[in-house]
């Protein structure tokens, strides 16, 4: 049984790893401008990084090829100052298990023991199933006690034209997060433990793709649905955009009345909100969480599920991710996660 603690820092990193060395830095590549920002911040603060693991997602490389950038591999090597000792994992965005297996191979070769090492993960551009399985692996299999997470907000997501958001229309090529659905499934290793005599409750962390929330709802058919809106949001108007994007879910008055909030940029407060819900309902309900909101909120749900192994995480796996779903970059957040066993 574990207990997760943590806190949030904006823009700077705490004393304990400034002027020290990071043993392992993990991130992935993306067409988004915020992709290298975490790495660049660490460099600016003269933090020495001994080893780097970068997920070179095939789909991103392909996307770069289409933009006629001569050698995307070289481009990212330069962006991240890769040296021969750094590890580049050639994996698919859509297969987090294989991604993890490749990472495991590298870790087995490079580290006899990871438990007390300083590990920093920049998850700004990583898709949620990857983040979930990575954290589970590091905390459960590798028994790590502390992990540092970096997250760079986007300056904006693609231009969300009001009418399109509310009409839920087909979006232009640059104006979508995901397309289609492969399946609504449990994130691997987060299947939870259902008590067969209990009813089911679904907590939905609201995002901008309301139709996906409805998909999850229909797939789970819970006895109780609790939507959680990201608030305060990155931008003040986003709180309304996510509510209106989820109109189809929230038009059910029984669901709307349960609406709760968690800050879009704070995984620990998100975890606290989920804890509050859990304490109220766990005796009579099996709890499922669907993290459709921001990535920091998803981290919050991940930490929550790590602490409560009965909780399951449901995710609508899309046919396609938009590998450039955001523009620019905003604040950088540092989350320090501690595990007490």
């Amino acid at each position: 049984m574990i207990k997760v603690e943590g806190f949030v820092e904006k823009g700077k990193v705490l004393g304990e790893y400034v002027n020290s060395t990071v043993d392992l830095f993990i991130t992935g590549i993306s067409l988004e401008e915020r992709c290298p920002k975490g790495w660049q911040m660490l460099k600016e603060k003269n933090i020495k990084i001994k080893n780097k693991v970068i997920f070179y997602f095939k789909e991103v490389i392909k996307g770069f090829n289409q933009k006629s950038i001569e050698n995307p591999q070289k481009y990212f090597d330069k962006l991240f100052d890769n040296s021969p000792r750094d590890c580049k994992l050639d994996v698919s965005l859509y297969d987090e298990i294989t991604g993890l297996m490749e990472l495991e191979k590298y870790l087995n070769d490079s580290f006899s023991e990871l438990k007390d090492k300083k590990v920093v993960i920049d998850f700004s551009i990583m898709i949620k199933p990857y983040i979930f399985i990575l954290l589970k692996y590091l905390l459960y299999v590798r028994n790590m006690e502390k992990i540092y997470l970096l997250y760079t907000e986007p300056a904006s997501y693609h231009k969300l034209r009001l009418k399109k958001v509310l009409k839920n229309n087909n979006q232009e090529d640059s104006e979508y997060f995901t397309k289609g659905t492969v399946k609504i499934g449990e994130v691997p290793t987060y299947s939870g433990e259902q008590e067969l005599t209990k009813k089911s409750a679904l907590i939905v962390l609201l995002g901008f793709e309301g139709e996906r929330a409805v998909q999850v709802l229909n797939a789970v058919s819970p006895d109780l649905t609790i939507p959680v809106n990201g608030f305060p949001a990155y931008r003040p108007e986003f709180k309304d955009r996510s509510i209106l994007s989820n109109e189809e879910l929230l038009k059910d008055s029984e669901i709307m009345k349960e609406l709760m909030y968690a800050p879009a940029n704070d995984p620990f407060e998100t975890k606290n909100t989920l804890e509050e819900i859990y304490l109220k309902y766990y005796e009579n309900y099996n709890i499922s969480v669907s993290p459709l909101g921001t990535k920091p909120m998803a981290i919050g749900s991940c930490l929550f599920a790590l602490e409560h192994s009965s909780v399951r995480i449901i995710y609508p796996y899309p046919l396609e991710y938009n590998i450039k779903s955001s523009k620019g970059f905003g604040e950088i957040w540092n989350y320090t996660v501690s595990i007490l066993r």
Partner: protein
């Protein structure tokens, strides 16, 4: 008025999900009809009004309560970080915070009947804090009081906070003790935030800051990014605002150009075309008027 069915649906949804179902279509129509075409033509003016309406940030009751919670957790995080920097673990830091909380006092800025005081009630309730943490009188501040946290719902120009800082109450506290002073607001305009930071030693806690791009007619306005449209919109708002609230407040108190409001009230920093009810103007989000003596400061 609004002819486009899509837009009508959008407004209907806003009303249902964001504005707490406050309005009927009649109210909204009445507000749009305020814009009679006295500056440009009525259609153009109403298009501008529509843009303002759909970019108006409204904090409903639940959100106001959650902002109180959010503000408290930011405050908590700040204190805990200080303990961590001293070398404590997170768990220890949290315990220390709970201990030291007993040496903090919460109060409000402004008069007892104003919204700062109102917010305190929500704040106490939502965070489950005992009454003893809240100042009843200024002489409740004891020797062992470590920090004083002053609350308000909104920081606009910063005038209220700066005035309060300069007041004898606060100056006495500063002179006679080492009490740390916090100014906790639910939301703030960046311009006011910077003013308070520059002119006081308040440590400001604020979950939501509205940057320059949220001033409706600023250079970086995201509501009117195109210069020409911004200028004509500004003309319209200024004209009507001037008629309603007079020169300095035509675009919100001291030209704040804000576009936000709360369930319990609309700050006068917001454009008066949203809230004013003078001279037959139908307010969509009316402001609960305060009756002041002459010369009193607003937000």
């Amino acid at each position: 008025m609004i002819r486009d069915k899509d837009t009508e649906n959008i407004i209907m949804n806003y009303n249902l999900y964001v504005w707490e179902n406050r309005f009927s279509q009649r109210n909204i129509k009445a507000w749009f009809n305020n814009f009679k075409g006295e500056v440009s033509n009525a259609d153009e003016e109403q298009e501008i009004a529509l843009k303002l309406l759909l970019n108006f940030i409204y904090y409903n009751e639940r959100e106001v309560k959650y902002l109180c919670k959010s503000a408290y957790s930011i405050f908590q995080n700040e204190i805990i970080k200080e303990f961590i920097l001293e070398g404590h673990s997170i768990d220890e830091a949290k315990s220390l915070f709970n201990e030291y909380l007993k040496r903090y006092k919460f109060s409000h800025i402004g008069r007892p009947s104003e919204s700062g005081c109102f917010i305190l009630y929500y704040f106490r309730q939502i965070n489950g804090l005992p009454l003893s943490f809240f100042l009843e009188r200024w002489d409740d501040i004891k020797e062992n009081t470590e920090s004083l946290i002053l609350m308000d719902d909104f920081l606009g120009t910063g005038d209220t906070a700066v005035l309060f800082w300069e007041s004898s109450i606060i100056q006495n506290i500063i002179k006679n003790s080492q009490i740390k002073l916090y100014y906790m607001v639910l939301s703030a305009l960046e311009i006011g935030f910077n003013k308070v930071k520059a002119n006081t030693n308040f440590k400001i806690i604020c979950p939501q800051i509205f940057g320059e791009e949220y001033r409706v007619f600023s250079n970086s306005s995201f509501i009117f990014p195109q210069e020409e449209k911004k200028e004509s919109a500004k003309k319209v708002c200024e004209f009507y605002g001037n008629n309603l609230e007079g020169g300095e407040c035509a675009l919100g108190y001291k030209g704040s150009e804000a576009l936000l409001g709360f369930h319990h009230n609309i700050p006068n920093n917001t454009l008066p075309v949203i809230w004013s009810d003078k001279k037959g103007w139908f307010p969509l989000f009316p402001r609960e008027n305060k009756i002041y003596k002459m010369g009193d400061i607003n937000e």
